[in-house]
Amino acid sequence: MATEILARRKMRISRSGLTGLVIVIFFFLLAVAVWAGWAGQNWSAADGERWASPGSTWWFGTNQLGQDIFERAVYSVRTAFEIGIVVSLLSTALGAALGAVAGWRSNTLADGTVLWLAGVLDSIPFYLFVAAVAFALQGLPWAMHVAMIATFWTATARLARAEVMKIKSREFVLSARAIGLPSWLILMRHVLPNTLHILLIQASISFVAAIKTEVILSFLGLGVQDGVSWGLMLAESTQEVLAGHFNNFLAASIMLFLLLLGFNLLSDALQDSFDPKQAAL
């Protein structure tokens, strides 16, 4: 069903979208390599001299503690994907579910509640909320994820709600209702698959947002607790750059930039192919 709908819309991926896809796949393979234990395993050993220059032993040099920056940067790909996948999947699923219910029962109490909750969460300053959740769930390594999921779903829910309200009045749904199919079945079979393109785009947007947020949170000391991430590397580098050591900063920021760029290009291309705007002056 899903693939059928994707195919029905004319998929024309632009060259930049393809570039994005290649970048994302490359990083994903890197993450798989780390998961499988083929790369990045030596990220925590402090066995080099401090601030060694890049060379054949230390490809990207070493940091303040003599840790291998290359190993750390590579291991961080895995961290990034873990955060990105968990947050984007769960927040999109939550947003889709709540948005679908709100849209299906629009202008009822359920709808009002979902909108109210989304409005409330959107009115709390984001980093304040995350900081508070991180604190409330102190010690839990998932605090950051929970906070992001709890706030990222609202945008998806609003979009899904609007789309479901549109689809609800189409013939195929009306006829499905007329022959007495239960609501949940209609929602699952006919409505949600038609919002799939929105969900796909939202998932890729949340992926980017999650990774970017992780960086800020790790800098603030609320992010990744054990392990290493680009955010932690950047946080370390804030001291190093003032002393003129840029390797940590460059490695983390360039890899971070490439992955984010890949996802942004991809989600732009997805948006364009689903919603080509024709106008031109």
Binding site: L117, S123, L128, F135, V208, I216, L256, F257, L281
Partner: protein
């Protein structure tokens, strides 16, 4: 229900939700202040006394009730950490934050609008592609990376070394510019990609409307079309974005910038309050943001009526 009553009840529910969630998270589950206040080796009585003072021994509902009552009577109390009155803290920090954030916020929006208009006028030509590419690039760079990069570039001997690495000792226009430049540039840099992209989508949509074709059929130049017709028709989404991002940029954005550059604004005060569990400060910040949101919503609806004759 008349319009403003509906808005008001909507606003009331929103405040209730915001305060409830922030109370639960920041106060109920927040850090326990007992030991920060009296040290590690206190007697049981001392502990009980402090806990009573702080209201820790009361039930959730009672404490939430007090929280709301304090908020609505503007009885904000004094900071637990410094003992300074919260009103005083707000008075001190909010102007700093506004002075710090507003220039970057406004310039970031104006630059975004200008670039988006340019891209819309040249849609699908290389200028448009360049601007779109530029905004996607901007969106792919982390805030933290921008700050570190600009700091090295502008504030250290490894770069131009023109501005201070951190701090905020403002006493006049010159010193203001001295301290505000790098944070402002960071904020512009980080917001302009998102802004350009958002505004471009709005403008392109407007440029596709029938009445734009009419304007062109009657000899309007591309400039006239963009500056008059497209821009004026887009004022509602522009104003919406502008108004709704003010509280977020000013609070969330300042949190990072102020922590990084060591600037004593509301963002830093808030963050310190979260990590130390300073309830009175948190109470005030969260309550004020929620109220700000609602005021802004009312105000925005009012502006809509000014800019769009269709909204009665």
């Amino acid at each position: 229900m008349p319009w403003f009553l509906r808005k008001l009840s909507h606003g009331g529910l929103l405040i209730l939700g915001v305060t409830f969630i922030s109370f639960s998270l920041m106060v109920w589950f927040g850090p326990d202040q007992t030991y920060t206040l009296i040290g590690k080796n206190a007697t049981t009585e001392q502990i009980a006394e402090v806990r009573e003072q702080l209201g820790y021994n009361q039930s959730f509902v009672v404490r939430y009730g007090h929280y709301l009552a304090d908020l609505f009577t503007f009885n904000l109390g004094a900071s637990n950490s410094s003992g300074e009155s919260v009103n005083r803290i707000l008075q001190k920090t909010i102007p700093v934050t506004l002075a710090l954030m507003l220039p970057g916020f406004i310039l970031g929006n104006l630059l975004g609008i200008a670039l988006a208009l340019l891209a819309t006028g040249k849609k699908d030509q290389w200028t448009d592609r360049l601007i779109t590419g530029f905004s996607v690039t901007g969106m792919s760079i982390s805030f933290l990376v921008v700050i570190i990069f600009l700091q090295v570039l502008l504030c250290t001997p490894y770069g131009l070394n023109l501005f201070p690495v951190r701090g905020w000792q403002v006493s006049g226009l010159a010193s203001y510019l001295y301290y505000v430049t790098v944070p402002t540039l960071s904020l512009i840099f980080i917001t302009v990609g998102y802004n350009t992209r958002f505004f471009r989508a709005v403008f392109v949509e407007e440029a596709g409307k029938d009445h734009i074709r009419t304007a062109r059929a009657y000899g309007a130049s591309t400039m006239t079309i963009l500056w008059r017709h497209v821009l004026k028709n887009s004022l509602v989404p522009i104003i919406t974005r502008f108004m709704y991002t003010i509280p977020l940029v000013v609070i969330s954005g300042s949190l990072l910038i102020e922590s990084y550059f060591g600037i004593p604004g509301i963002g830093k005060a808030t963050f310190d309050a979260v990590t130390s569990g300073d309830q009175p400060v948190l109470k005030a910040v969260v309550g004020l943001t929620a109220v700000a949101f609602i005021v802004i919503q009312l105000f925005t609806d009012f502006i809509y009526k000014l800019v769009d004759p269709r909204i009665a």
